[in-house]
Amino acid sequence: MQSDNFNFECEYWVRGSMSSTRTVRVRVNGVEYTKEVEPRLLLVDFIRDHLGLTGTHIGCDTSNCGACTVIMNGRSVKSCTKFAVEADGGEILTIEGLASDGNLHPIQKAFWENHALQCGYCTPGFIMQAYWFLKQNPAPTEEEIRAGLSGNLCRCTGYQNIIKAVKAASEELRAKAPTINGG
């Protein structure tokens, strides 16, 4: 491939449309999907373009921003770093699946109550990362929260209210389920 520009080449490689398709069977937010996809389709594009779940965002092309964070098989992943085929047979939770029966998840509620978002673009990624983080560490200190969210970028809030929200959510989650054991 002739290319003057490394980035174009990279993007081409990951998003290119040359090979035959493969089947992906995956459960997303509790719904079973079976789709034919190109092997190099990124998970984030699969979620957004094939499933229409546009709450998962894209903020970079170097896996730095975390806007694309989802939960895959119980762990948080940056969905721009995975291929859709890697999700085959697995289970994914995106921001759209977090509220249950119309009730906001305590993390969502805490973001709202603590003004932890402005433009909202980074928000789904932060909430999903916080969701996973609080499962690992249900009673974190401020420093631990900052470290736990340091793979996500926000340009609007200066993080202070995000930290506050995650702290508040951790308290509410613990009050609700006093004996968390990994949930």
Partner: protein, 789 residues
Amino acid sequence: MAASLCGSRVKRREDPRFITGTGNYVADVTLPGMVYVKFVRSPYAHALIKSVDTSAAREVKGVLGVYTGADLKSKLGPVPCAWLVPTEPPIKVPEYRAVAVDKVRYVGDPVAVVVAESQGAAEEAAERVSVVYEPLPVVVDQEEAVKDGAPRLYDGIDRNTSFVWRLKGGDVESAFRQAEVVVKQRLVNQRLQPTAMETRAAVAEYDSARSEATLWITSQNPHIHRLLVSAMTGIPEQKLRVIAPDVGGGFGSKIQVYGFEAVVTLLSKELRRPVKWVETRSENYLSTIHGRAHVDYVELAAKRDGTILGLRVKTYANLGAYLTTAAPGVPTILFGIMLSGAYRIPAIECEVHGVLTNTAPVDAYRGAGRPEATYIVERMVDMLAHELGMDPVDVRLKNFIPKDKFPYTVATGLLYDSGNYEETLKKAMSLVGYHSLREEQRRLREQGRLMGIGVSTYVEVCGLGPSKVVRSTGFGLGLWDSAVVRVHPSGKVSVYTGAHPHGQGEETSFAQIAADELGVPFEDVEVVHGDTAMTPFGMGTYGSRTLPVAGMAIVGACRKVVEKAKKIAAGLLEAREEDVVWEHGKFYVRGAPAKYKTIQEVALASYTAENLPPGVEPGLEVTHFYDPTGFVFPFGAHICVVEVDRETGEVKIQKYVAVDDCGNQINPMLVEGQVHGGITQGLAQALYEEAVYDSQGNLLTQSLNDYALPTALEAPTYTTDYTVTPSPVTPLGVKGVGETGTIAATPAVVNAVVDALAHLGIKHLDMPLKPEKIWKAIRRAESEQTTTS
């Protein structure tokens, strides 16, 4: 009695959609039959385009068209620049094409556009467009670009200088003659990449049966986009609908009309298909505007007692390769007029060279000119204090414009509306414990530890602005704003604003204002923005103008609604209008408050319309245009405390206190959010961020790996507080607050770091203050101290 909503921390009504992933950003817009665009961009910073061969690209399956700059030239007008500052000789505006013709002038300059059925096909085809370039000598540095023999970007623009702008107030020569001390410094205000988390994007759909286009775009000002895209494409304004749905941050970088919007609109018309373009982050860094990029030569004249006499500034502003929408106004008007800061400086002189270089265009980034001015003033005040052995706080207190002197005209000609600078500084000092910190600093120094305290007492001009004044600066339009307030028959209210909030929260704060003004429940008010088919022409959201201008348009509209409703109520109450009293959503006859008509009842009556007083039209709806009578000037005092690690040069922010005054606050929660975010961007400039080009014009900071945005680990915890000095200019006494943090924080942090190092003999370091730079400066200072001792 209804409690006032204005002044309350009302939770944001925009949040439910964002926290559930149901926001609607441009990249989320999908239309049947949609096709995808990829721009082919120049890998050279300066080169002639010898030929563009699109044949191989056309063969890629799914490709619908490949267009070169030459193909588009006849179909698209040039990208206009909307702020032609008046200079002598007149500003030279180079031709700026959406897709380059004949010559490229920065790495990332588009040379062709591919449209295909899928994103993958568009990208593959873009790879196959083969362009033959003839590279030319490159110049990226503005001080190099003005030298004799420097590579020239444009025929007819000598020394790459688009303009030289001058401002002079007071007798500068005599100020410097009288000076007992003159402090001089070259200050670099480095180039920044705005980095809204959402990159730019556009979707266009052309309806050929109606000859109408709809354009979804990441815009801070949809009406401006419609006007200029209409001018470029020839699609009449009334046939072009621009929708800026949810926008993921702008910070100035989504004000501009770049050309891509016009390209997708045109291609949608040509191909009769909806066309989508979403920028990648690397493209965003290459070709979305950058900010700042100044080199300033500064001289400050003062007396030995710390009284400032005069300021002289000569600036080389890097404008990049083309003049984007507001570019010429940023390093001139928005910069020069703020060089008095919070101080009585009797004489100020400023000369700005606007220089074209082989780099991405530079335009408004959060603060836009005002952070650059504030950085100069606040650094120089600190340097003066250091020179005189005074506490930087005392120099400030000595030179502040006193609170009883407002409104006050500074030497640059601006009329400051209101202020109490001493109060904010004293409040910040007591919050941070200034005097005991100075004690602690002395103790730590004895132990060899490097602790610094940095103060920044800023003033910002915003609320842009009175149209008459703004027009005299060469701005393409006035800077008023507009609102439609429509009270429906049910008494519910829709408010349509010409502004475009994209994170600031005005769907909430504007509803607070309207609910208070009309005496209706908050839940009954809907705020609509971002769609030119629904909202009145307005100027958009930037420059901290949304509340003080567009918000005041809503106040005006509501008051006119009440005026009309009062006439109708008088009819219903069978009273004379002058006997009718308006109070919290109700009308009654003076002295008889028990018998009243609610605004909702009056609204219904306005639509049934059978009992309207003579001369009163049916309906209850008002369009109001608000042109401010003056600018507003928020201000404040920020104090930053740092410790510098002697061994590594690393800076750790220990404390950050911000006391801001933006007049009356509508929603203190939103104010706090703006302050937090603003400070974080400001300190990021001081410590981390810098756009770097190599000598060949390659952008070395082309990804988030290389462009160092602060994460939650770097951002400190802020202590925020306020004073309230209402503005006499705006009906609600409000000022703007969107940029204050960014303006204040940069010098506060740099002053703190330099303060930590001052006793080593370090007087100044240019930003960003990365560990390596500080470490080297410490080593150098230490070795100088050993050689001199």
